[in-house]
């Protein structure tokens, strides 16, 4: 990410951000409106920077968007906003259909992720009748089934209770993918390789979780 800035109309949300993410697990924290969600959206091209360049594996999010999105999955805060089909299995299959995966291969991969995330018993259940935690797992399954190499999570546990927060944290922890997790829940970042703190559209701190989280907590106190 080189000299990236982004504005929403008159409002600058990111200013002069330059960094390289090479770690396996990267956490992103910051106050509301600090620019962290916009930063996350830059990583898979949901937002294209007003100025500067974002490269994913050397691919420019401005010009090679489709390939970037194949490589980078994105999990939103509110699973209800990303579950688009009425039943569980149909929703997981949605992304594979978009990728042009043949039907038999789709069925195999859907089954695999439903089992992995404890949703196999809910295959034909209406998505809106799932619990909050199950909905978030469904949202994660719908992204991971597409086989991204990296996954960005934008506040994935904000709407969840403690048990489901731990469940989703465990899922993230077990992923072999490179992950970027935007969160307000600082204990989620234990064991991460790197944490960025955003403040007023800039990276205000960047380092190990122990250093940056302490810095952030002191600043917020």
């Amino acid at each position: 990410m080189r000299e990236v800035a982004h504005d929403y109309g008159e409002r600058a949300v990111l200013r002069d951000v330059s960094l390289t993410l090479a770690e396996h697990r990267v956490g992103v924290v910051g106050a509301n409106g600090s620019g962290k969600s916009t930063f996350a959206r830059l990583l898979n091209g949901l937002v294209v920077p007003t100025s500067g360049t974002v490269l994913v594996d050397g691919l420019d999010t401005r010009t090679q968007l489709r390939e970037v999105r194949r490589r980078v999955g994105f999990v939103f805060q509110d699973p209800d906003a990303q579950i688009v089909h009425p039943t569980v299995a149909e929703d997981v299959e949605f992304g594979l259909t978009n990728l042009g995966v043949p039907p038999q291969e789709r069925a195999r991969r859907v089954e695999e992720v439903l089992v992995r995330y404890g949703l196999a018993g809910h295959r034909d259940h209406p998505a809106h009748l799932l619990s909050g935690g199950q909905k978030q797992l469904l949202a994660i399954a719908g992204v991971l089934v597409m086989g991204p190499q990296r996954v960005v999570f934008d506040e994935p546990t904000t709407l969840l209770d403690l048990a489901n927060t731990r469940r989703v944290a465990r899922v993230i922890d077990e992923l072999e993918h490179d992950v970027v997790v935007v969160t307000h829940q600082l204990d989620l970042l234990a064991g991460f390789d790197r944490v960025l703190v955003f403040d007023d559209g800039r990276v205000a701190a960047d380092g190990t979780p122990a250093e940056t989280v302490r810095w952030y907590v002191d600043r917020m106190s």
Binding site: R69, D78, A81, V84, P86, D91, A127, L129
Partner: protein, 213 residues
């Protein structure tokens, strides 16, 4: 509003192609509106119930949940006909609609949404020459079925929030926060569709190879 449409099963009705079921439903609709004999219409209703409850083994409550919303209209129609045309016509009209609604409920309860959507996409394929993307039509239908209960749930939350602050009953003002929530939801949904590859113009096997479902 929050009832499940599809009821899992493995019988012959569940296994029948979605296109065949929709075709038979359309034929039944035409037949029912041509027929005006009470025994024919009553027989059709009995046949639909036999297929739904007997062959497909759907739970009665699943069909009832689909039919329940039309009861007030059926009763109103019956009352109208009893006053203006007589009991025979009224009974035929009510049984006709009841048979049709029940048959539609059997079709939706035994067919996955993706299969129904595939039929719609197949039917819409000729529109591609006018620039219409059939997959988009199918997606809109699937999303409509997905978001009706979600929006109803959010409306209920707003009503509860208003009731908690002393405003009982329906308030027109409830529409404003609901509209704002729906717009926010639509914005994120648009991003999620992009992130999950829904903007891909390349035909998928299902779409490209879609024959009659």
């Amino acid at each position: 509003m929050t009832a499940a449409l599809y009821v899992p099963g493995a019988g012959p009705v569940h296994r029948a192609p979605a296109g065949l079921k929709l075709g038979l439903l359309a034929a039944l609709a035409v037949g029912l509106f041509v027929a005006d004999r009470l025994e024919v219409v009553a027989g059709a209703l009995a046949g639909v119930l036999l297929i739904g409850l007997g062959v497909a083994r759907l739970p009665g409550r699943a069909l009832l949940a689909q039919v329940r919303p039309v009861w007030p209209w059926l009763l109103a129609l019956l009352a109208f006909h009893l006053v203006f045309t007589g009991w025979h016509t009224g009974t035929v009209v009510v049984l006709r609609l009841l048979a049709l609604v029940t048959a539609a409920a059997v079709v939706t309860a035994t067919t996955r949404v993706t299969a129904l959507v595939a039929v719609v996409e197949w039917l819409a394929r000729p529109l591609a020459v006018f620039g219409v993307r059939p997959a988009r039509i199918g997606l809109v239908i699937a999303m409509t079925l997905r978001f009706i209960p979600l929006i109803a749930e959010r409306a209920q939350r707003i009503r509860e929030a208003q009731a908690a602050r002393g405003a009982d009953g329906f308030r027109f003002q409830a529409l404003v926060p609901l509209l704002i929530q729906v717009l926010r939801l639509a914005h994120t949904l648009g991003e999620a569709l992009d992130a999950r590859g829904a903007d891909a113009p390349a035909p998928s096997p299902r779409r490209a190879g879609a024959s009659a479902p």
